[in-house]
Amino acid sequence: MASGNQVAVAGGIVEGVDRSPEHMRQPMLEGPFDVKELLHLDEALSVAERDGGGLHYSVYVGPLYDPVRGAAEALHDKLADPDRSVLVAVSPEQRQLEIVTGRIAQEKIPDRSAALVVFSMEAAFGAGQLAGGIITGLRMLAETAQGR
């Protein structure tokens, strides 16, 4: 389902420096978040990247084809350093959530901790807080990775 769709990729820390805000604005605003939510997401990603135990974090929000886990892992494989990366893939349409950790990332964020993060995110999503759930999840993942 996701293949062929245009995916807007935003940079949280350094990306976007070489791009004008006008170019970033339109595709981002076609997503599910308003400007305020985008700013909070950007901040959460930056903080996670800085204090998240040397791991790289990314968030995908969009449809995931079946099997959902396979789709999320395929997205994770597309990241530049999958072993050190953590992908939070959310499909609001299917109401499904996947957290994918690479080989090294899994050592810092065990599956049990990831499951706890998923519980918290699910609660927020159920209340209609899409951005809030993602920000909470990023914070929890970063804190878990930092503490190990």
Partner: protein, 86 residues
Amino acid sequence: MNFQDWLILFGAPILVVVAVFALIFLRHPRPQSRYRAGRPYDFKPVWFVARNGAVPGDSGSHAAELEAAHGETVASGPKGGSHGKW
């Protein structure tokens, strides 16, 4: 009590209430999230990364074509994580 008295007694407070509501809701509309649980979801997919070059092929363009299903990707090894539904 004539009409003017009624107007002062009831008209003025109502006017004040209406003015306050207008000030609050017209000048600062209540922020509403675009996403509503259970409502149809028809937004474009977005992928946020926290550093430059985290997604190969993203350099220079603000939108990358996602070929999640059919793209040439190399599996990086065992993966962990968790999943859920809401």
